[in-house]
């Protein structure tokens, strides 16, 4: 245990408080006057003003498409294998046009489990998944909406980000497997 330092002997003006208090008050008042005149704060007025994110910021995942419109992912299972949080669930299917190639029938990421490590992006041999959306408002009213489905992640960069819940309610085909509009009944 560190011994407490011996008290510094105070000069007369310091021990009478008054001068030191007035010095402190002068300092705080200088801040008030500066801020009243300049109105220049570091604070970001969040919903209206947003902080620009850096290029390497890892936001919500998106899935990429080939130029011909098919999904790039070949369901090689590299990302669920490398995922330390076990949040990626892929159901693979065969492409009837090209039996040599697989594709994901469903590709769900549980954003409640995701730790945003970016290993899935690094592991992907086809550059099919990226985290470059810079979206950090990943939220929903229930747990099911926090599972991002394949269709949702494909459409993520088209225009504005659709709110997960709203998108699922409007278009049920976007919803992940097992999704019901109502909140699950807890036992």
């Amino acid at each position: 245990m560190a011994l407490p330092k011996p008290n510094k002997t105070l000069t007369l003006t310091e021990s009478s408080y008054i001068v030191e208090v007035l010095k402190g008050m002068a300092l705080t008042m200088s801040h008030v006057i500066k801020n009243l005149l300049n109105q220049d704060f570091r604070t970001i007025e969040y919903p209206d003003v947003r902080k620009p994110m850096t290029a390497r910021y890892r936001g919500a995942h998106r899935l990429l498409l080939r130029p011909d419109g098919g999904i790039k992912c070949v369901a090689c299972m590299c990302c669920p294998t490398v995922c330390p949080a076990n949040c990626i669930t892929i159901v693979a299917g065969e492409n009837p046009d090209d039996p040599a190639e697989k594709f994901p029938v469903s590709f769900d990421i549980d954003m409640l489990r995701c730790i945003y490590c970016g290993f899935c992006v690094e592991a992907c041999p086809k550059d099919a998944i990226r985290m470059d959306t810079k979206i950090y408002e990943i939220n929903a009213y229930n747990r099911q909406d926090m599972v991002h489905s394949k269709a949702y992640m494909v459409n993520l960069m088209d225009g504005l980000k659709p709110e997960a819940g709203t998108a699922y309610h409007v278009d049920k085909t976007l919803a992940p497997a097992g999704y019901t509009a109502e909140a699950p009944v807890r036992p």
């Binding site: 408080y17 402190g24 008050m25 801040h31 704060f41 570091r42 604070t43 007025e45 209206d48 003003v49």
Partner: protein, 474 residues
């Protein structure tokens, strides 16, 4: 109307005015505290809660919707945020509608009356503070007690009951410690507060607050020149020391930082109001600010001339009512125009550039520009009225010769007291966000070992000086 009912109505009006005076400054202070703290800490502070005003042309349709019981849906043209003042309003609504929890373990009766006592005492103290000399023969003071200042000291001692009862009846060790600290602290600092006030008694020769203010409205005699209406107690050497002691004691009495040990949140959770929620908490919260206002008002009355306007005594104001109205009216025009220019310039702030084109918040600077320009025009109108002798004409028309002068005097006196109170409250807020909380033993050392002896010596020196001056010069 009979004599009795006239008197009754006058008494009621005076009481309502004094309560309204305190209760209207309270939300302003809460806003000032939040905004002041923010500016001291380089933050913008509260600025988001808006009031969305509809287009005036839309009002008839909206009234129809209200009458028909339909939901009120409109597209606002201006979203009024008023630099965060609306937050106070929303806070009140929140506190009023929150669940009022009464814990099982509290001592019910005392627990219920504790916040009421705290609030009532702080409002009662204002009863003896004069906020003007007279308006048409009516004293602008709820009660001109002969022992006015003694009443103030007595009530501040009673004020400790609210906190002590809250702390004890909460049946909670943190609350109890808060209540204990508060009572010990208030008892200690009451001594130096009373002794500081004794100097004022000696100088004024009375404890009636209205007499003390009258004394301070005399000219300040510097030997070679006499400054009118500036005989403030704080401008004499012993009076100034007494003011310092009184002011520091007032901090301790109102439980403000650096003496806010009763609610030291780092040690005591919330202190004496830990168990209170909803509007009972709001009562304690408002009582703290009401106490600040009363302490500032009493300090202003004792040491800074109370309602007295610097350099203008009551007789001068009444004799030159129209001139003063013209000067003040025209003097306010450039001030309000400056505000309008500042408000207009705020449109160029980066925040307004990122808002969508149809966002009603974009119109807020324009709204304030219009409002300040309107205020400037209204004050210009007052100035013209004063220049044309409007008050004299009003007095003749109402066949009350004193009316015009009394009106100007009353408005000036109340504003003068209000300005002094606001300055005092701002100093309290300013100190709170500057000085850290004292340790309990430091607090007691300061009270008993330094302030009490200094106050005692000050009383004796002041008494000696007054006698000496009386013997030498009178």
């Amino acid at each position: 109307m009979s004599e009795f009912w006239t008197d009754f109505l006058i008494v009621i009006a005076r009481c309502v005015f004094s309560v309204a005076f305190v209760m209207n400054i309270v939300p302003l202070l809460i806003w000032g505290e939040r905004k002041g703290a923010a500016y001291i800490q380089d933050r913008p502070g509260p600025n988001r809660a808006p009031i969305d005003l509809p287009n005036p042309l839309d009002v008839p349709r909206l009234l129809g919707a209200v009458m028909a019981g339909q939901p009120l849906v409109y597209k606002p043209i201006v979203s009024l945020r008023a630099a965060g003042l609306i937050h106070t309003l929303t806070d009140v609504v929140k506190l009023a509608f929150k669940e009022d929890v009464t814990p099982d373990h509290v001592e019910k009766f005392y627990w219920f009356i504790a916040p009421v006592i705290a609030m009532t005492i702080s409002l009662c103290t204002f009863a003896v503070v004069p906020f003007g000399d007279q308006l048409l023969g009516v004293h602008l003071q709820v009660s001109d007690l002969d022992g006015g200042l003694l009443f103030v000291l007595a009530l501040t001692s009673l004020g400790v009951y609210g906190i002590m009862l809250a702390g004890w009846s909460s049946n909670n060790k943190f609350s109890l410690l808060g209540g204990l600290r508060s009572s010990a602290q208030m008892v200690s600092y009451e001594l130096s507060m009373g002794l500081a006030a004794v100097v004022v008694f000696l100088m004024a020769g009375s404890v009636s607050l209205s007499k003390i203010v009258e004394m301070q409205q005399q000219p300040l005699d510097l030997g070679f020149i006499a400054i009118p209406a500036m005989n403030w107690t704080a401008l004499s050497p012993f009076g100034f020391l007494a003011f310092l002691l009184f002011w520091v004691s007032a901090f301790a009495e109102t439980n403000r930082t650096p003496f806010d040990l009763p609610e030291g949140e780092a040690e005591l959770v919330g202190g004496y109001h830990t168990e209170y929620s909803s509007f009972r908490f709001a009562l304690f919260f408002m009582a703290e600010y009401a106490n600040m206002i009363v302490a500032s008002a009493v300090t202003a009355t004792l040491f800074f001339g109370g309602y007295a306007v610097p350099f203008l005594d009551g007789a001068t104001i009444r004799a030159n009512a129209d001139v003063i109205l013209a000067v003040l009216g025209f003097g306010a025009v450039p001030a309000f125009t400056t505000f309008a220019v500042i408000a207009f310039k705020r449109q160029t702030r980066p925040f307004y550039q990122v808002l969508a084109a149809e966002d009603p918040r974009r119109n807020e600077p324009k709204f304030w520009t219009g409002l300040w320009l309107g205020a400037a025009a209204a004050h210009g109108g007052l100035g013209v009225l004063g220049l044309m002798g409007g008050l004299a004409a009003l007095s003749t028309w109402a066949s009350l010769p004193e009316l015009g002068g009394d009106l100007v005097a009353a408005v000036l006196h109340v504003s003068s007291l209000g300005a002094k109170v606001l300055i005092g409250c701002w100093i309290m807020i300013w100190v709170r966000w500057t000085v850290p909380r004292m340790r309990y033993d430091q607090l007691m050392n300061l009270g008993w070992k330094y302030m009490l002896p200094v106050a005692l010596v000050n009383v004796f020196l002041a008494a000696g000086w007054i006698i000496l001056r009386h013997e030498l010069f009178a």
